[in-house]
């Protein structure tokens, strides 16, 4: 190609390093040239933390340190990571697994991809530390099929680490051994659900499994397993390196440490921002993001499955922490913040979300297969086609109420919660579309020239 637009551009820095109050940790080397190589990673102290953990700490101390740090899982559910690690049964001679969930596919989220692509060794080091803490000698790394660049780089990174003795037997002169199995998914959102991920890892259809038994009792291949998100595991490197006190000093009483906000929608500066917990949404959207480029009516705080908030002072001044967001009726989720412009038809926006869940439903249980996968998209198609009738809103509400909390896994709830939130805040748009047989806001192109 002889055109300038397609020439590979120099990687650009990402993150919130523009905020002087905070020093970027996990994303420090994202976007730096050759940051994915082992040489680069070791040049700034890579694998020193794993060495420190394995040679100077007992496994139980590592778990304790993680508990003290207050880190909560960054994959969406927000379960305390240290506590999860402590759920592993006592060592009994069985194989134990630490699995990394890199099946990032929540709409609005892309924080894991940059770590996988630009800093794979950071994740591997995090897995070594986690493996040591829970005394697992095998790690499973489940990466979604679409992240091919990340897969290639991780594959190379694991080979390099094995060659250099950073994975394998007798790590750092101890008798601890650790190895990673890299497994590539093939495009299924449900694999983000931990038991579905385990089925997929074992080469089955990715249907969720009944819990209990929980993965700590019977996980991959039936062995005790702990599953963590990419950024949870990568956080372990920094927590063990700098100490739990350093980590828990950041953030608020309720939510410790840093999180990654992924800002998308009509805003000046899209991107992933590493920020301390407790920053307000106003600071994120106006300070880091440079403000919206058009009028906004709502924002989704943590990926498409989290109920949306109206774009008002009350919600903008809310700190980004688990408790506040939950109290306001939503979830922190993965931190994928999506702005919805004022003249985007809310019914159309929700149809997009519903269609996503309808496509990704695994079909195992009836409420989800019939409700999420069949009824919901049909109801929205009917409304958008101008065929809405009186009673349709009530029907959507009724179907929603009958799905929520009644499905096999939380997938169906993830679809229903945004629907209910949109009905709560933007019911007038649904009423308008039924009354006038057309959307309140006609479709408008936002595709940049």
């Amino acid at each position: 190609m002889d055109t300038t637009a397609t020439v590979a551009e120099k990687p650009k820095q990402i993150t919130s390093r523009i905020d002087p109050r905070y020093e970027v940790m996990m994303y420090k080397y994202v976007g730096v040239e050759n940051s994915h190589t082992l040489e680069f990673y070791r040049s700034h102290g890579g694998y020193e933390t794993a060495k420190k953990a394995i040679t100077t700490m007992k496994p139980v101390d590592v778990v304790e340190e993680m508990k003290k740090s207050g880190l909560r899982g960054r994959g969406g559910a927000g379960f305390p990571t240290g506590m999860k690690w402590s759920f592993m049964p006592p060592v009994d001679g069985r194989q134990r697994f630490i699995v990394c969930n890199a099946d990032e596919s929540e709409p609005g989220s892309c924080k894991d991809r940059y770590v996988l692509e630009d800093d794979p060794h950071q994740l591997i080091e995090g897995m070594v530390i986690a493996g040591y803490a829970i005394q697992a000698t095998k790690g499973g790394l489940y990466i979604r099929g679409e992240y091919y660049l990340g897969y290639e780089r991780l594959y190379k990174a694991i080979q390099d680490a094995k060659r250099e003795g950073l994975l394998g037997k007798n790590l750092f002169g101890s008798d601890f051994e650790f190895d990673i199995i890299l497994h590539r998914g093939s495009g299924a959102y449900i694999c983000g659900e931990e038991t579905a991920l385990m089925n997929s890892f074992e080469g089955f259809r990715a249907n969720p499994r009944l819990k209990p038994p929980f993965p700590a009792q019977a996980g991959v291949y039936g062995f005790p397993t702990t599953i963590n998100n990419v950024t949870s595991l990568a956080s372990a490197v920094h927590i063990i390196n700098k100490g739990a006190a350093w980590f828990s000093a950041m953030g608020t009483d309720d939510s410790k440490g840093f999180h990654h906000v992924q800002l998308s929608g009509p805003v000046k500066r899209h991107g992933v921002y590493e920020v301390p917990m407790g920053i307000t949404y106003r600071e994120i959207i106006y300070g880091l993001g440079g403000g919206p480029t058009e009028d906004i009516k709502a924002f989704i705080p943590g990926g498409s499955s989290c109920p949306m908030f109206p774009f008002t002072d009350q919600y903008l001044d809310m700190p980004m922490e688990y408790a506040s967001v939950a109290k306001a009726g939503s979830m922190l989720g993965t931190g994928g913040l999506i702005l919805i412009p004022k003249d985007k038809c809310m019914v159309d926006a929700l149809y997009n979300v519903v269609r996503f869940y309808a496509h990704e439903s695994c079909g195992k249980c009836t409420p989800c297969r019939e409700g999420v996968s069949t009824w919901m998209p049909k109801m929205y198609q009917k409304l958008l086609a101008g065929l809405g009738q009186k009673g349709d809103i009530e029907l959507i509400e009724d179907v929603s109420a009958n799905i929520r909390g009644r499905s096999f896994c939380v997938f169906a709830d993830a679809c229903i919660m945004p629907i209910q939130a949109s009905l709560k805040h933007f019911r007038h748009e649904y009423e308008y579309i039924i009354e006038n047989k057309k959307s309140m806001y006609p479709k408008k192109s936002r595709w940049a020239e």
């Binding site: 055109t3 397609t6 990402i14 091919y148 497994h183 959102y189 992933v272 985007k344 479709k443």
Partner: protein
Amino acid sequence: MTELQTLKPFFTDRQDVLNEILNRYPSYGRRSAVMPLLWEVQRAERHISEPRIHEIAEIIGVHPTEVKGVMSFYSTYHEHPVGKYHLQICSTLSCSLAGSDEMYDFICEETGLVNGETDKEGRFSIQKVECLGSCTTAPVLQINDTYFERVTKSRCKLLLDSMKQDKLPEPWRERGGDNAGAEKAKVL
């Protein structure tokens, strides 16, 4: 059945690839190799045909129905061949807000194909896909394994034009975030 008998097995000349994949997993986890083996076939032949399913089933030691069941669950394995350039357009919320619907229409117009179709020459195929995890650099177009991020209309045109000449440009990597630079940013 004639096709099954006459087609040369896929892994006959690829024993090293096969062994590398099988050795990734512990002995009790042989079945895990189903997905990577399907990937190998998909990448080489752009689809997974019945004989290949039988072959993989035999390697793993399960019934072909089991392999087909796995294959049909996931959206990136194809029963019919996709084009040399398989265009996957993300259509989920963030990309949709950044114009992926219009991008889809544009690509349909330019190639004369719609979602799920492959052209006669086997050059282009189109698939509308769900969130590709590139929300902050939307809209994203995945061509085979490569992400093309923040695809504006002019970039989309350039991409299509160059693929029509059988060339795939180097991907550009957008990252977003604070690329405006520290001095320009204001913190409230």
